[in-house]
Structures are given as C-alpha cells and as structure tokens.
Amino acid sequence: LAMAPLASAQGVVAPGDVVFDDYGEVAQSLTGVPGNPEAGRTVMATRSLGNCVACHQVSAMADVPFQGNVGPSLDGVADRWSEAQLRGILVDADRTFPDSIMPAFYKTDGFIRPGDGYTGKAAPPDLPPILTAQQIEDVLAYLLTLHEN
C-alpha cells in the first residue's frame, strides 16, 4: 500500500462528515483504501483500540483469550449484514441499534465528560475518534471474512 500520505489524508472522511442512510448504513469507504483484514483482527483484539472481544465472542479469534458475552457472537456476521451496514455499526452503532451500549468508534462529539483515553483526565480539545478511518476499514475487512462455517 504505497499511497502517498498526502493523497490518503485527502481522501479521508472526517467523523463529522460521515453520511448515514436512514438505517444507519454508511455506503462510502472512509478512506478509499481497501481494508487490511489482518490489521483489523489486531485492532479487534487490542485492549486500547477496538477491544471488541471484551463484549463479543469470535470463534475465528479463539487464540485471543477471555472473550466476553455482553454483545452477540460475531460468528457469521458477514452473512447477516452488508458491508455498508457493518461500516455504519462500527462508526456509530446507535444509528443501527438505538441506545446500543456498543461504543461509537468513529465519532468525536456529543460525549459527557470525555476523557483522554484511559487516563481519567479530561479529553484534549481535539479528541480523536477511538479508531482511525483506516482502522475502521481494516476491522470491516476482517468482519467481512466471518462467514458461517
């Protein structure tokens, strides 16, 4: 992926500019750069990034210990949801599941007492989203590999 950094930065959709349809779907790629499923898997397993396994069980990630069950198993999600639906769920799950406890991974405003990561201190004025646009696309690419059987 030898994209010039400038070119890719220009192609990135900012959190405030993401376009959702009425069902919470996001059709357009956030970066225009295809996601890397391996990188996405790492984001999902990493505590300080997606930490998706805190709430979800994924059989294909059996090597990652201590998977939670606060949310549904992600086995077979690629059969249940389209790419645009999954992107929408990752960006802001509330648009698909109203009042979901699943965090919005690509959102930067509307929070009550946002912190600076896990420090307990106040957030900086330019609080970044939890995941970058490319990390969202990477996680999405991995989710799209999760077919039943």
Binding site: R47, N51, V53, A54, C55, Q57, S59, A62, P65, F66, Q67, G68, N69, V70, P72, S73, I101, P103, A104, F111, I112, R113, P114, G115, D116, G117, Y118, T119, G120, K121, A122, A123, L127, I130
Partner: protein, 270 residues
C-alpha cells in the same frame, strides 16, 4: 444462545457466605422498590471464583484484615494537639458497630451527607486538633476497613428520605449517565449485563456492601471512591475526585441499592 469458548459460567453462584464460621451473611435479598432492574440484589462475593470467595471466609486468610489490625493500633494512638486517641472518646472500635450499615448519612449539624471517611476527618480535625487524613490514603482506607469490620453481618440500611433525598437523586442521575467516549453508564454494565463476562471480568451488580475491598490485583485495600473512579476511567471519561460531592452522592445511591444485604467489608476481590 451464546456458547462461550473456554470462559466460565456466567451466573453468580448460590454458595453460602459464613465468615469465621459465625457471621452468616445475606448474599441475596429482595431488591428495594427503587431498584427496578432486579428482583433480587446479590453481593459481589457471589460473582467471584471459589478461590477468591474462600479468602473472605476466614479472617486468617483475608489479607484485608491486616489493614484492620493496623487501624486498631491507630485507634489507640494519640494524635493531634489534644493528645487524644480515637479510643479516648469511642473506647473500642466495637463501639462504632452499626456505623458502616447506615452510611453515607445526613449530618444535621453540617447540613450535608457524610461518608465514613468524612466523619473520621471531622473527628480528627474538629475534635482532636489533628491533620485530616487523605481521603484515599492507606491510613484512611485501613480505618474505614476497621469501621466496616465491626459491623460485619449487620443489614445495610441507608436512609434515602428526608434531607438526604436530593443527594440520593443526584446519585441516581449519575448512575444512569452514559459517561465518556465509550458512553457507558454504571447501569449498562451492572444492571443490563450483570452476570455476563466483559473480557476476563465477571460483571456483578456493583454493590458496595463489601467495601473497602482487598483487591488481589492491586494487593491493597481499595476504597469505594477509588473503585468508582476506576469504573468511570474505564469508560474513557474524565473521572471525579475522591471525596467530591458527585462521588458522595453516587455512594449514597449505590449503598442504598444494597439495603438488605449485609456489611462484608473488608471483602476480597480479584
């Protein structure tokens, strides 16, 4: 219909907690009417592993009792300009039996809700001419553990009516506020998902009848406000300081959600 690969069972167990073979705890009680999410309130002890549970069943195995012993020494030690010890006025720690079960509590003189820690500092500064202890200092947590330990087995009965009511309501409001970048309220984890696993952690109802708790992960006694701060921090939020009006209000509200359980502090947790 979720089958977990390798993780333990998710429901709290029905083991019976009897400490030192004599203090029979109430681990399950009917939920107070203002706790609408549950029929039954359950002590955090019931959510822990058998190994962790066992450590709380005998004072010789409970590392939190070392803090209690340290505080017993402090209780008899003269402090401050008057040369008095706690025991000058309260004779023995056992004279304070019952305190933990009813705190936080409205203080008529101060016109405010006081926690046990605030009450201890009141005696230190206003009655003994001593410096206050840090709200979350090891000495204060030890003293809170001592004051809890002499009430073990008593039924939690925190008052939420009268002048304490607005503070209780503020605490309830905080309990249901979705803080931080993860937008999670106490209720999202401790009501909606009690009994489930969040990564390696078995979510309890977040009761505080066992506080201060000895946490094996920290190898230390942990105060109520310290625990609250940790949970708020984990939502990627800006926390509140220990002893702040917000955490006092939250403590009153959360304590009242445990009305009917028994005082267990110092409990043992992972």
């Amino acid at each position: 219909a979720l089958l977990m690969a390798g993780s333990g069972s998710a429901d709290p167990d029905h083991d019976d907690l009897i400490v030192n073979g004599e203090i029979d705890m109430i681990e399950r009680a009917p939920a107070p009417p203002y706790v609408e999410a549950f029929d039954e309130i359950i002590s955090g002890w019931s959510f822990r592993s058998d190994e962790t549970q066992a450590l709380q069943m005998d004072d010789f195995d409970n590392p939190g009792m070392l803090g209690v012993e340290r505080a017993r020494v402090m209780f008899d030690t003269p402090m401050g300009s008057g040369g008095q010890a706690c025991s000058s006025c309260h004779e023995t720690p056992e004279a304070l039996r019952g305190v933990r079960a009813t705190y936080p509590k409205w203080d008529e003189e101060r016109q405010t809700v006081q926690t046990v820690e605030m009450q201890v500092n009141e005696c230190l500064t206003e009655r003994m001419g001593a410096e206050p202890l840090g709200y979350d200092s090891p000495e204060m947590v030890d003293m809170a553990a001592l004051i809890a330990s002499v009430s073990r087995g008593m039924v939690v009965n925190v008052a939420i009516d009268g002048p304490a009511r607005p503070v209780w309501e503020q605490g309830r409001e905080l309990y249901y506020t979705r803080f931080g970048q993860l937008e999670l309220a106490c209720a999202n984890c401790h009501e909606d998902n009690a009994g489930r696993m969040i990564r390696a952690d078995h979510l309890s109802q977040g009761q505080i009848n066992g506080f201060p708790t000895y946490r094996l992960n920290n190898a230390a006694l942990i105060s109520v406000h310290n625990r609250f701060r940790g949970c708020i921090r984990d939502t990627r939020a800006e926390t509140f300081p220990v002893g702040s009006p917000e955490l006092v209000a939250l403590e009153l509200y959360v304590a009242s959600r445990g009305n009917g359980l028994t005082v267990e502090g110092p409990a043992v947790r992972n």
